[in-house]
Amino acid sequence: MSAVVAEHEHDDHHDHGPEKGFLRWIITTNHKDIGTLYLVFALAMFFVGGSMALIIRAELFEPGMQFVSPQFFNSMTTMHALVMVFGAVMPAFVGFANWQIPLMIGAPDMALPRMNNMSFWLLVAGILMLASTLFMEGGAPASGWTLYPPLVLQTGAALPFAIFSVHLLGISSIMGAINIIATIFNMRAPKMTLMKMPLFVWTWLITAFLLIAIMPVFAGAVTMLLTDRFFDTSFFDAAGGGDPVLYQHIFWFFGHPEVYVMILPTFGIASTIIPVFARKPLFGYSSMVYATAAIAFLSFIVWAHHMFTVGMPMAGELYFMYATMLIAIPTGVKIFNWTATMWEGSMTFETPMLFSIAFVVLFTLGGFTGLMMALAPVDFQYHDTYFIVAHFHYTLVPASVFIIMAGAYFWVPKWTGHMYDERLARFHFWLSAISVNILFFPQHFLGLAGMPRRIPDYAVQFADWNMVSSIGAFIFGFSQLLFVYIMYKTVKGGTGEKVSDEVWEDAHKHSLEWSLPSPVPYHTFDTPPEKIPTEHF
């Protein structure tokens, strides 16, 4: 960042640059600083959540209980998921949104900069409160990230803290979402009509609406848990006339769109990167926008595919099966469009492109298992086994997480003015891409062979593949230290070669940020840009 500061001092603009010293990072309202905060925080949480995953995989390395108690194991699966979802993946995308949305639409900053700062610090508070439950009497929540009652009500002292942390995280997300919507609707450069916005902006716009719709629902559900536990209500208590399955309906009404909150911005970044390295416009821009909107809409009406086994009436089972199958159509459109974007291109394979291609391939595998699980009668077999663990990890790790890394490699030269070490970065890519498959592919076999999820120990016929999976986990986990090293070195000066303004060949044809100087100055687009890249549209 020091380079950014130095650059700024030369310009004789009269408005102020960044605050000196540490305070800058506390009180900043600059979208770039806040973007950096989000990204660094997400990276840190990626390692916290990752360490929990390694505890899980260490225990599962061999049959028998070697390291942790079953209760602590359950806390680990629960906290791993919550930290990864709310602390790592979502904040990483908010970080990209903060950095990129103003740059891509030609705005000087986010529309509501102070709220921007506040939503970041609420996120930190929420995650710290969540993490503090690890040290409480009775341990951290151990009922799975889905927090199903009645089980979750058996949580010890941690329960109210976990619930309040969900509230804080929810408020933070909603504030972030409002800010993104306000920015996109009000602050676009004059010529930037909605249908000329880069796809990353579009996907975030839709994601922001999803967030505003679902976070209050989750907050409501956990508040009902709170009153059930402390104020003698019985929303979810059958003995008091309540209904434990009601919670699952509410949770998944939030939960299914929530998984799309994590994937839509992924789609957006992939749609930004692939055309640049194929040296072609994105294929089917408008169908990409419509497909994103269709997926977002469908995500609200398929929730009970997570609950096929609760014993819904037949009409319900069938409806949710058909609706879920429908998602495969817009998802397929996206995959076909990316393939068509590569087709007849003039491709090069720098690290962001490598991660993006791996994303398209491996996400498609996750989509296939999604389609398999959509068939309700077969899901009676797959449900709550390692097969679904494999499914959602394919849609989250080599998809969302890979694209987060692709985005970091893609934009970090622009942000810092330094090039990362391409050779090391490719090494990081290959290590990650191979180990992620060693980690998750065998879990398909385990699930089909009958291994339930969320168990700390297993029958011996599952031993071999668990061992393979654990080996993959450790390679994958430790490979990510390389990412930290590469990024650190880049920020500190990189390879030393000065990057050009457009960084990637002809990138300026694709999006606005590439016509700004590298590194981007602390303040950009004080006056909206006259021209916008129109090549594709």
Binding site: P63, G64, M65, V68, S69, P70, Q71, N74, G139, A142, G144, Y148, L151, A238, D243, P244, A278, K280, L282, F283, G284, Y285, S287, T309, L318, M321, M325, A328, T339, M342, W343, S346, F349, I357, V361, F368, L371, P377, V378, F380, Q381, H383, D384, F445, L448, G450, P452, R454, I455, P456, D457, Y458, A459, V460, Q461, F462, A463, D464, V468, H536
Partner: protein, 387 residues
């Protein structure tokens, strides 16, 4: 594809030098032993092959492009970026495929749902962390929990190699016994939290939910032993509540039922006889190990902050009635053992904890007393309009 998967698996295992340790892992879903499970397997294979074909087409195109359309080969980018025709085609083709998948899936779904005309009914109740089975037609009723050998081996650093335990974690003390070629209707409910009852060979799982009665049916066509597990996270010992179903020829099953009934009569008369304190304590120790030690620890020390110690407990060393009341009705995480233990076991363990685990109160309680108390608590029975 199955072949290539096996090849891949074999290669991977050889690389890790694991091939010899356990040969009986599987890669695919089991076909199972019921007509439903075979239908499900068929659907699974169908959708699997559909995915394989689509995958080959998409990835084939992509890798062709990656190979030929690269800058290093001097390929010039063409600038096309839309084609309504092609986009319509690749929306319609998947739609048709989905419809073709939905039809057989709907058929299987409807078939699974049809619990009419069953020959017998079994009620399954999920408890933390065991299963209760009740044969509604013959009145046979018992609990089924993880067997001792597995339970010992699964303790943290037990020093017992799970590979030496037969059916590690997939063995129970008392399996569910069913006749073959009989349409059995299952009714599922739970006593505390949600569990899920899954035997892969039957082709489905069903959640057991407090306050709900879920239904499912099966008709096993091959005698054998089929194993499964609880699949809904239900707390600490979720991984340790297996299911074992033994399917027998009908006459064998009938004989088993008769035996169970005789056993029940014997148990009832045992409850009426006078027991000496020594006998109660001796019996109570094993009841404690099976039912209490997982929370209150084998030595009665409990777990600070979560599970109170038995040794030196004010309740246990105090008034007998208060202790029995807590055990009968439960409290918070402590299950209500009133319905779980028969009078003899209940009296035995009540006496044992007062005179073992470092306590020495010196009194005892008779099974007959417990039987009277159990008669007084309302059992959580659910109406079921069977027959």
């Amino acid at each position: 594809m199955v072949k290539t998967k096996q090849l891949f698996a074999g290669l991977a295992l050889m690389t890790f030098g694991l091939g010899t340790a356990q040969a009986d892992y599987t890669l695919n879903l089991m076909e199972g032993v019921t007509s439903i499970s075979r239908d499900v397997y068929g659907l699974h294979m169908l959708v699997f092959w559909v995915c394989v074909v689509i995958g080959i087409a998409v990835f084939g195109t992509m890798f062709y492009s990656i190979y030929f359309h690269r800058k290093s080969r001097g390929h010039k980018a063409s600038l096309f970026h839309e084609s309504t025709k092609i986009e319509i085609i690749w929306t319609i083709i998947p739609t048709v495929i989905l419809i073709l998948l939905a039809i057989p899936a709907t058929k299987v779904m409807l078939e699974m749902d049809d619990t009419k005309d069953s020959d017998m009914s079994i009620k399954v109740t999920g408890w933390q962390w065991k299963w209760e089975y009740e044969y509604l037609d013959s009145g046979v009723r018992f609990f089924s929990s993880l067997d001792e050998a597995s339970n010992k081996a699964r303790q943290l650093n037990s020093g017992i190699d799970p590979r030496t335990v037969p059916n590690y974690l997939l063995e129970v003390d008392k399996p569910l016994v069913v006749p073959i070629n009989t349409k059995i209707r299952f009714l599922f409910t739970a006593a505390d939290v949600i569990h899920s009852w899954w035997v892969p060979d039957l082709g489905w799982k069903k959640d057991t939910i407090p306050g709900y009665i879920n239904e499912a049916w099966t008709s096993v066509d091959k005698p054998g032993t089929y194993r499964g597990q609880c699949t809904e996270l239900c707390g600490r010992d979720h991984g340790f509540m297996p299911i074992v179903v033994i399917a027998m020829e009908k006459p064998d099953y009938e004989a088993w039922v008769v035996e169970q009934k005789q056993q029940a009569v014997a148990n009832a008369s045992a409850a009426d006889k006078e027991w000496s304190a020594e006998d109660l304590i001796a019996k109570g120790e094993s009841v404690y190990t099976n039912n209490c030690a997982s929370c209150h620890m084998a030595d009665g020390a409990g777990l600070a902050g979560t599970f109170p110690a038995i040794t030196g407990s004010a309740l246990v060393t105090g008034d007998m009635d208060a202790q029995v009341d807590l055990m009968l009705n439960g409290k918070g995480m402590m299950p209500a053992f009133g319905q779980m233990l028969d009078p003899v076991d209940f009296a035995a363990v009540s006496t044992f904890i007062r005179n073992g685990l470092g306590n020495s109160v010196g009194d005892s309680i008779q099974p007959a007393t417990i039987k009277a108390l159990q008669g007084a608590i309302p059992a959580t029975e659910y109406d079921d309009d069977d027959d």
